[in-house]
């Protein structure tokens, strides 16, 4: 078979090929190193261009004076970066990150759907009355995320197939195996979804310079907006368990539309501000098959959600990572006085020589956001070198299990992103932490993560220089 041309690779990653074409591409890429590299590069380009385009969203606008039609979400975006001064660097960095990672996430999803075929193997269990879970995404971030991230679309044939499969499994009410005692025994109290008070839109005001003859039309449109604005959002609560053991799955990423949270230590999640209507709840966890289920989010009704995830049969060898470095940094201007540590967000670019070791996790471990470290400093600018050398650098990475066969690819991609694949060579659980050895094509790193939330604890060693 001929090599895939670039357009086909992009179409494949965009989920635009027919199932037949897609499986042909899949088979070819599995066997062809050249094309596997092209796919990795295309993935990087897709992630990078999403991030570049997202940088356009911080456009100044006339503050709150023109449109009565903006929804609260859209309105929140109108705050440009210098108007967010009060939030602080950390929050801003988090927000930026949330945007970036979400974009990447949605870009990756067709592929992910391919690799982790979704199966919902769960009975719909009523919700616990009070789920005490703490969303990982802070409010500012989720607001921004909701405002700027593209809506989840499942236009990939694979996604569609998965959806169909899920609908079917919901309808037929998949029977759980005898290995899932907790889930079957679990008795939840049914409760109604707590509805968030919707923000009231501003009164309709004509646009400056709008032709008078359109006044009525615009008013109608504004009224429409006013009518639909108040009850647009609700909470979705639930729990994610390991189908085999009934144990809670910690750090599974649950998403609806653009809202995402990770499950807590009890496997519980709580999604704020979920738009009403027909939504798809998606659950992903490294080492497990992902699951998704269509739900109708209704303001005055309760949605019952419990997921039991099946172990993934894929070897957890590779992850695709993308992210952004945040480093604490000493402000030069204050060197004379008490040094002030400043949180500074630094975009990793390939040509700066910034290389990151990617994170991975073992099959029975956890997924989600990773915080870890190491940026090579050889080609970095003086300023950056000082920055990265003097203080801990954190790299927030979003990781996604990819595939068992495309090894040794690190296309550290550029622009505003670091995306690529790295191979986890080994891992072992030591108490509450997880030790992972990673190879990024040039070095092998040993890193230690907290098992609970995969936060980076420490570097153990760089095992081999390149």
């Amino acid at each position: 078979m001929q090599h895939l041309d670039e357009g086909t690779v992009h179409a494949w990653l965009d989920g635009a090929l027919t199932p037949n074409e897609a499986s042909a591409a899949d088979a070819h890429v599995d066997a062809c190193e050249h094309c596997a590299r092209a796919v990795a590069e295309a993935r990087g380009l897709i992630a990078a261009s999403s991030r570049i385009l997202a940088a356009l969203d911080d456009v100044p606008a006339v503050q709150d004076s023109t449109s009565a039609l903006s929804f609260p979400a859209a309105r929140a975006r109108r705050r440009t970066w210098w108007q967010r001064g009060g939030i602080g660097y950390a929050a801003a960095a988090t927000a930026l990150l949330a945007v970036g990672t979400t974009l990447v996430w949605s870009r990756l999803s067709p592929d992910a759907a391919m690799d982790m075929r979704a199966t919902v193997a769960s009975e719909t269990a009523p919700l616990p009355q009070a789920v005490a879970s703490q969303p990982l995404v802070d409010t500012a971030a989720s607001r921004r995320q909701a405002a700027t991230a593209p809506p989840a679309v499942s236009n990939s044939p694979r996604d569609a197939a998965a959806d169909a499969k899920n609908v079917a499994s919901t309808v037929t009410s998949v029977k759980l195996s005898a290995k899932e005692p907790q889930l079957q025994k679990e008795e939840f109290a049914t409760d109604r979804i707590v509805q968030l008070p919707g923000a009231m839109p501003r009164p309709a005001a004509p646009l400056p310079g709008a032709p008078v003859r359109r006044q009525d039309d615009r008013k109608t449109l504004a009224d429409s907006a006013a009518n639909i604005a108040p009850a647009r959002q609700a909470q979705v609560l639930g729990r994610v368990l390991d189908a085999a053991t009934g144990a809670p799955v910690v750090g599974a990423v649950v998403s609806v539309d653009t809202a995402r949270v990770a499950t807590d230590s009890a496997g519980k999640f709580q999604l704020q501000a979920v738009p009403l209507g027909n939504q798809t709840v998606r659950v992903r966890a490294l080492g497990f098959q992902s699951a998704q289920r269509p739900v109708a989010v209704v303001a005055s009704d309760s949605v019952q959600l419990a997921f039991a995830l099946q172990k993934s049969t894929l070897a957890p060898e590779q992850v695709v990572t993308t992210g952004q470095v945040t480093a604490a940094r000493q402000d030069r201007r204050e060197q004379q006085g008490v040094p002030r540590e400043q949180e500074r967000s630094k975009v990793v670019t390939g040509q700066e020589g910034a290389r990151l070791s990617a994170a991975s996790a073992r099959a029975d471990s956890v997924a989600g956001c990773y915080t870890l470290s190491r940026v090579a400093q050889d080609k970095a600018r003086d300023e950056d070198r000082a920055m990265f050398a003097s203080l801990p650098t954190r790299v927030q990475l979003e990781s996604e299990l990819v595939d068992r066969s495309r090894a040794n690819e690190v296309s550290a991609h550029r622009a505003r992103t670091l995306a690529g694949t790295a191979r986890a060579e080994s891992w072992r659980l030591v108490g509450d932490s997880l030790e992972v050895t990673l190879a990024d094509g040039e070095r092998r790193h040993a890193l230690r993560f907290a098992r609970r939330d995969m936060r980076w604890i420490s570097d153990i060693a760089i095992l081999e220089p390149c």
Binding site: E6, G7, T8, V9, H10, A11, D14, G15, L45, I46, A48, S49, I52, L53, A55, L56, D57, D58, V59, P60, A61, V62, T66, S67, L69, S70, F71, A73, A74, R77, R78, W81, W82, G85, Y89, A92, L96, A147, P150, P151, A152, V153, L207, A210, R214, R218, T220, L221, S224, I228, R232, T349, G350, E352, R381, D382, H413, R414, A415, R416
Partner: protein
């Protein structure tokens, strides 16, 4: 189209449409105006078969036809001038860096040819290949190639500019 239909359409597409237009135009107010005009036109339609493609196509054409461009630009320059003063007051390196990134991104996007740019921006808003093809009058088979070229050029030109900028910054820093 009745009000309920319009509401549904508005709820489903207002945010992505405004974002698409903002990225295209670099001006949120203008983008929102165009989006409103687009929805108003939808209101007068009786039957929309492929509504998302239709909305994005109409919005794209409205931008093309917009005769108030020059006025808008003047207003925008004035606002920018005002806001630049604020920036200097609150100046922080991070903020400046982000502004630089936004400026580079704008340049990189503006450097694309129109078809590539529109296809990419539509794809970012979740339009599938069929919808992009319909909205832009292209064949479905050409969308993958178009997007691949758009993405590559965007990223490469962004990176090239970033390198240039950093060389400039580095030199200045060494001199200081």
């Amino acid at each position: 189209m009745n009000d309920a239909e319009l509401e549904r359409l508005f709820q489903a597409y207002h945010v992505p449409l405004v974002r698409y237009l903002t990225r295209r135009l670099g001006d949120r107010d203008w983008a929102e105006e165009v989006a409103q005009e687009t929805f108003l036109r939808a209101l007068r339609q009786t039957n929309l078969t492929n509504e998302r493609a239709w909305l994005f196509a109409v919005a794209t054409n409205l931008v093309r036809d917009d005769a108030r461009k020059e006025d808008r630009r003047r207003q925008r320059l004035r606002l920018l001038a005002e806001e630049t003063r604020d920036v200097q007051v609150e100046s922080a390196e991070t903020a400046l860096e982000r502004a630089q990134e936004a400026a580079l991104a704008r340049k990189a996007v503006d450097g694309l040819i129109e078809r590539d740019r529109l296809a990419l921006l539509m794809r970012e808003e979740g339009l599938n290949y069929e919808e992009i093809a319909e909205a832009l009058g292209l064949s479905i088979g050409s969308i993958g190639t178009t997007l691949a070229r758009a993405r590559r050029r965007l990223v490469e030109s962004y990176e090239a500019m970033q390198r240039d900028t950093q060389r400039g910054v580095g030199g200045g820093h060494a001199a200081s």
